[in-house]
Amino acid sequence: MSWFVKLLPAKIRTSSTQRRAIPDGVWSKCPECTAVLYLPELERNLSVCPKCLYHFRINARSRIEGFLDKGIQHEVAADLQPVDRLKFKDTKKYKDRLSHAQKATNENDALVVISGTLKSKPVVVAAFEYDFIGGSMGTVVGEKFVQGVETAIELKAPFICFSASGGARMQEALLSLFQMAKTSAALKKLASENLPYISILTDPTMGGVSASLAMLGDFNIAEPKALIGFAGPRVIEQTVRQILPEGFQRSEFLLEKGAIDMIIDRREMSATVARLLGKLGF
């Protein structure tokens, strides 16, 4: 279980076996309505439960694949590898955590950036890989994000980011904190070129990722019932010594409080984003 999942109170925690979009075998159980689902069918439905519309967490590549047009795609900064600059060690070495995560996810780090087309229009899309150390943002995530933004500027195309992250990566200490400033500065540059940035917040988007790139969209869109916030629910509970209200820090709560523009079903995401971009001239 990743460190971030452990922060969540038990009632809102989903175990990793339930969470995985494509577990071994042919059948999966919806953690929300307990319906038994036929996997190939669930995948065809973009990992949304057909019975209760629960959005399973999905990996970065399937997400981008389900979002962009089929056809020519180019991966940005595919070869960037994480470096353990601090020789960080807690109960485990960071180096070992990295190689474990790389094996488990088949990714170099927690962000995948692809330039392709959406309804035949060029776009650059970034997506966080939550299974890679909780989708945490270290220097590779920051650098890939920036290169993605720069690619969008070169192509004069919109930039879209799907976030799913526990926040900054503690094992990279201050270097990871500074990625918040780095990614935000790149987005400022994108904005000064009058190019759109669409931030899509998925379950979960917390801490340093929420407090930088995820909240800076020209449109902030969330998937249903995603956990989104600055501080984790347990930290808040310990600080204020109150029981948190029902639905606190969920997409619907954020919409109510004015933090996001809309909540969109994953299966409608491509069409919605294309329609929004169309009206902005992209």
């Binding site: 601090l86 109960t91 220097t139 500065a185 930088s212 909240m215 600055f230 501080a231 808040i236 606190f248």
Partner: protein, 313 residues
């Protein structure tokens, strides 16, 4: 003034106590040679202990209850400080203060987190943990600084942005993110100094700058050592290990190229001699500002952008 000693300063405290004792007995007797000898010894011991304290000890100095805070430095460094209040939407956040002032006669905008000192004031200042309205007040003052070409001077001293229900409702994340976004291209020179605790995003939200200083015994980290320990070691008691692993002290951060300079503190820490500390900060700010103001604005913004992009490259 009675001095408050930290755990790792105990040997110094013991010597100090001995000197006091001798002074009491010494009325009438001539013990000045012995006292002088012990005073020299205390100085040497203090020098030794403070030469390279452990990361966790540094965190204790950074959080020392006597350590000078933003308001202390404002008083010692600037003239004509006029504090501005409120974000114009919700409230005035007393954990984050700011206003116009003069530095060596020249007008500037000053912003910083303020922790407060006595219990009542600490509560009033929310222990230096700003809410979204604090960051939005800061943003308002930054934009005002840009409009009137006032250089922006910030002092960082916070355990972090406040993790509360109201803070989430008012979108703490967005408040921090917006400041990072705007500061990256704010058209005025920015100098940030970490004077005590640089706690995570709540610190960074006023510390995107052309030049970042850290006082010798200040700390700056992505998460508090206690927070890091409870997540990675599953026990907050491992905070000293976490502090060491994260390398949250100034010399290490300078070594990583993440700040410009470490400002040396008076013997025993800034709280032993706030005037000397403030004088050094003042001199440093005056000189650096003159340098930054001689750079044409487009070039300054380009350098700032390059600086931000260099993190982790």
């Amino acid at each position: 003034m009675t001095q408050h000693f930290l755990e790792f300063e105990r040997p110094i405290a013991e010597l100090q106590a001995k000197i006091e004792e001798l002074r009491m007995v010494g009325v009438g007797n001539d013990l000045s040679d012995e006292i002088q000898r012990l005073e020299t010894k205390t100085r040497e011991l203090t020098k030794k202990i403070f030469d390279s304290p452990k990361a966790w000890d540094t965190a204790q100095i950074a959080r020392h209850s006597d350590r000078p805070h933003t308001l202390d430095y404002i008083q010692l460094i600037f003239d004509e400080f006029d504090e501005m209040h409120g974000d114009r939407h919700y409230a005035d956040d007393k954990a984050l203060i700011g206003g116009t002032a003069r530095l060596d006669g020249k007008p500037v905008m000053v912003i910083g987190q303020e922790k407060g000192r006595k219990t009542k004031e600490k509560v009033m200042r929310n222990f230096g943990m700003p809410n979204p309205e604090g960051y939005r007040k800061a943003l308002r003052l930054m934009e005002l600084a840009e409009k009137f070409n006032l250089p922006l001077i910030t002092f960082v001293d916070t355990p972090g942005a406040y993790p509360g229900i109201g803070a989430e409702e008012r979108n703490q994340s967005e408040a921090i993110a917006r400041n990072l976004f705007v500061m990256s291209q704010l058209r005025t020179p920015i100098i940030s100094t970490v004077i005590g605790e640089g706690g995570s995003g709540g610190a960074l939200a006023i510390a995107v700058a052309d030049c970042v200083y850290m006082l010798q015994y200040s700390i700056y980290s992505v998460i508090s050592p206690e927070g890091c320990a409870s997540i990675l070691w599953k026990s907050a008691d491992k905070a000293p290990e976490a502090a060491e692993a994260m390398g949250l002290y100034a010399s290490r951060i300078k070594q990583l190229g993440l700040i410009d300079e470490v400002l040396p503190e008076p013997l025993g820490g800034a709280h032993r001699d706030p005037q000397t500390m403030a004088a050094l900060i003042k001199q440093t700010l005056i000189e650096k500002l003159a340098g930054l103001q001689s750079i044409p604005m487009p070039k300054l913004l380009e350098l700032r952008y390059k600086r931000l992009m260099s993190y982790g490259r």
